[in-house]
């Protein structure tokens, strides 16, 4: 797949790519975090809150990524996705169920006809430490098993040692294996360590044809934060402005409460804009978030807080 037209020559060589990525505007960490914190003080109430809760539910990639995952566990999660709140059938469905590749077929069978997508982490998730052939085989497997979306991890080692072209070509190769499946590129922002790196990784991923850029695997100490998500939203906004191509954003890991989720939606609204306020362009990688959203949803309709026994445990 060819690179986006206005930037065709920047991927011609490692040197050209480095020059381009290092020529992106810098990020002032203090200013970025202050902006994220200030948007976090928006007060979202009543109708806006009800809208935000339903939107957030519809944006969840309901995730189980444990070594102990079983077909039974995956089927239970799929059932939850199809019918998130047995007490209220008007509840929207999450966007996808996200599993390891060996569980993709189980998930696809359980979700057939529901409209809920199957997402699968591939490319030797979460470390990404395997030969390219192994990673591509991983992707092929997942797609063959019925995955609609592939979540790949980049080679952070290559990125940090400045081998940008290698990372770029790896994403291209994975994208080629995806076929019709949408590709989410995970940077593991906690390991990239600087905001400048996160902006460079975002552009690198988008140049290589990512359909989504995603903060993290959820397997390291620092995952999605308001600041790194805000930065990635700025990147997709600028990218669309310059290329006309829209890319989605997925913060993952550590978003557990309705309050947190609403803060992220405010970031989307005021940074990238309403075009991204849709599950096609914004996702939450989360599992426990759904129950908190459901409890808040029940509270809005009944006026009272229920409790953990009024939502299902899966």
């Amino acid at each position: 797949m060819p690179t986006i037209a206005p930037f065709a020559d920047v991927t011609a060589s490692d040197r050209a790519l480095r020059r381009f990525l290092h020529g992106l505007p810098g990020v002032d960490a203090v200013g970025l975090e202050a902006r994220a914190a200030s948007l976090g003080t928006r007060s979202i109430k009543t109708t806006a809150k009800a809208y935000a809760i339903d939107l957030a539910v519809s944006m969840i990639d309901l995730t189980t990524l444990e070594g102990a995952d079983t077909p039974g566990k995956v089927r239970a999660l799929a059932a939850k996705a199809v019918n998130p709140d047995p007490l209220d059938r008007t509840t929207p469905r999450p966007a996808a169920v996200c599993v390891y590749p060996d569980m993709a077929a189980t998930a696809a069978a359980a979700l057939a006809g529901s409209g809920v997508k199957v997402a699968s982490v591939a490319t030797a998730f979460p470390a990404g430490r395997a030969a390219l052939g192994v990673k591509l085989a991983d992707v092929r497997d997942a797609v063959a098993a019925g995955a609609d979306e592939i979540d790949m991890v980049i080679d952070r080692g290559a990125f940090l040692s400045g081998r940008y072209l290698q990372v770029y070509e790896e994403i291209l190769a994975v994208k080629a294996e995806c076929g019709d499946a949408r590709l989410k590129v995970i940077f593991e922002t906690g390991e990239l360590s600087t905001y400048d790196n996160i902006r460079r990784a975002s552009w690198l991923g988008m140049l290589a044809g990512a359909d989504f850029i995603k903060t993290s695997t959820g397997k390291v100490a620092v995952n999605a934060t308001p600041a790194n998500t805000l930065l990635m939203l700025q990147a997709v906004r600028d990218f669309r402005e310059q290329t006309g191509v829209q890319v989605g954003v997925k913060p993952a890991g550590g978003i557990r409460t309705t309050k947190d989720a609403v803060k992220f939606l405010v970031l989307v609204n005021e940074t990238a804009g309403e075009d991204w306020l849709d599950s096609h362009w914004f996702r939450f990688g989360a599992s426990s978030l759904l129950n908190d959203l459901l409890m808040q949803r029940q509270k809005l309709s009944s006026g009272r807080y229920s409790g953990p026994d009024y939502v299902t445990v899966d």
């Binding site: 505007p25 928006r42 007060s43 109708t47 306020l277």
Partner: protein, 478 residues
């Protein structure tokens, strides 16, 4: 605005503040009527609703207040620093405890958004009292001799843009150093100072140490002229500041003057663009631009002019203007009808002189005093809007090509209060900052305040410093 995600109104409750129908002057620990019985009304600028009626001080009241302060000075200045510190710490804690009430009051009386009073003004007010409370027993270590003495009675006049914060900047160092004060708040925003008078009583502050006179310019003028005032501290317009300087010339009165500004906010081509845009917004639209150190002149390197302007305009379309008590409001009301008229007139001058006007698309409420965030491009140093302080949400955009040109343009102003530099290059920050003739130079940020940091101006922006260790000097006989 037709956002899919339109925030429902989230107004802060007014019930946390109890505004009396009328207030007197606070003299010698008591609320009292003006000698001639005059009163005036204070309005809420966002609704034009009358909030309360306050006493209007005249010359006789000024004399009473100065005499009360003089009487209190002996005992107050003789207290050990640790004792004065106790009162200041107590005041600081009461301010924290009552901060929600004071934030709502300030928003009602001034028109600025609750976001700012709650998140900026009130925390800084408390911080100033805490900071100077800490100095009260360490004056011998401040570098002004082993036992610096207070000046006596301080006559203090403060503006309407940060009523309670300016009060804190004035009163906290004065009390810490052993002075007593007579303070006149601005006529459009007298209420928070009167609530502060109540806090002084709550803290058990000895009578006469703090006196508050609400009133107009004539009261301020009488305060400046009073023979028993030892120190004048004024924050406000350059014209009034010049008048004060003339009036006290030849007397032994000390003075600090914090006057106007026309701050240059310099954006180099390697700046962190997204954060620079935030800094430009904070620089000129914080408190509706009614800030003496506002970054009201944007100097953008020509090579990134279009990029920065596009990003800035996009950002301005997301600003939310309206009810200042709504927690989601970014831009509140202009403080008074006169101020609105002044801003409007200067903006018209900008257009008449050929600058290109762009206004953020926001609907203005039907009552109250409002001005939509506005920027002018194609401005040159010769334009009125590049020289005169507008004191409103109006940004003038100029360009430059080299760092030398940026410095020359930034310094080409009768003012010199603040400046900002945006670049990723540390060496450039240091090189440029050293050449700017401004009291405060912010690097990759703007309009950040801290009690430990001295604040003051060059040229017509005034003289003397407030805040930090330097702020003590203005109230000590050194």
């Amino acid at each position: 605005m037709a956002f899919a995600f339109d925030y429902a109104p989230a107004p802060e409750s007014r019930s946390v503040v109890d505004i009396a129908p009328s207030y007197g002057l606070f003299i010698d620990g008591e609320f009292t009527e003006a000698a001639d019985g005059k009163v005036f009304k204070t309005l809420s600028p966002s609704t034009e609703e009358v909030l309360s009626e306050v006493a209007q001080a005249g010359a006789e009241d000024v004399d009473r207040a100065v005499r009360a302060a003089r009487k209190a000075f002996g005992k107050w200045s003789a207290l050990p620093g640790t004792e004065r510190a106790k009162y200041l710490f107590r005041i600081a804690r009461i301010i924290q405890e009552r901060s929600r009430e004071l934030a709502v009051l300030e928003t009602l009386d001034n028109g600025k958004p609750i976001r700012e009073t709650r998140d900026a003004d009130l925390p800084l007010v408390a911080a100033h009292f805490f900071y100077y409370a800490g100095w009260a027993d360490k004056l011998g270590h401040a570098g002004y001799g082993p036992d610096p003495r207070p000046l006596g009675v301080a006559g203090q006049i403060i503006p309407w843009n940060f009523p309670l914060l300016m009060l804190a900047w004035k009163i906290a160092p004065a009390l810490a150093t052993g002075n007593t004060v007579v303070l006149k708040p601005a006529e459009t925003t007298p209420l928070s100072a009167l609530f502060f008078a109540d806090i002084c009583r709550q803290a058990g502050l000895p009578k006469g140490v703090v006196n508050i006179l609400t009133g107009y310019g004539d009261a301020g003028s009488a305060l400046v002229a009073h023979p028993d005032v030892n120190k004048v501290a004024f924050t406000g317009s350059t014209a009034v500041g010049k008048d004060i300087a003339r009036r006290i010339a030849g007397t032994d009165k000390r003075a600090t003057l914090e006057l106007g500004g026309k701050g240059a906010n310099i954006v180099f081509d390697d700046a962190p663009v997204d954060q620079a845009v935030e800094g430009i917004v904070t620089g000129i639209f914080f408190n509706q631009g009614q800030v003496c150190c506002a970054g009201s002149r944007l100097l953008v390197q020509e090579s990134v002019h279009d990029e920065v302007l596009d990003a800035l305009k996009r950002r301005l379309t997301t600003l939310r203007l309206g009810d200042p008590l709504d927690k989601n409001t970014d831009i509140g009301a202009i403080n008074s009808a006169q101020q609105l008229a002044r801003i409007t007139a200067l903006a018209e001058t900008g257009e008449a002189e050929g600058a290109e006007r762009w206004t953020a698309p926001c609907e203005l409420p039907s009552s109250g005093y409002w001005f939509a965030p506005t920027l002018f491009t194609g401005v040159s140093q010769a334009h009125t809007i590049a020289r005169d302080e507008i004191f409103g949400p109006v940004l003038s955009v100029l360009t430059f090509r080299t760092p030398d040109e940026a410095v020359a343009k930034a310094n080409n102003s009768q003012y010199g209060l603040s400046a900002g530099i945006w670049t990723e290059k540390g060496s450039r920050i240091l090189a440029v900052a050293g050449k700017l003739r401004a009291g405060v130079v912010w690097a990759n940020t703007f309009n950040k305040f801290d009690p430990t940091s001295p604040f003051g101006g060059y040229k017509e922006s005034g003289h003397g410093r407030e805040g930090g260790r330097h702020g003590l000097e203005a109230y000590l006989d050194v």
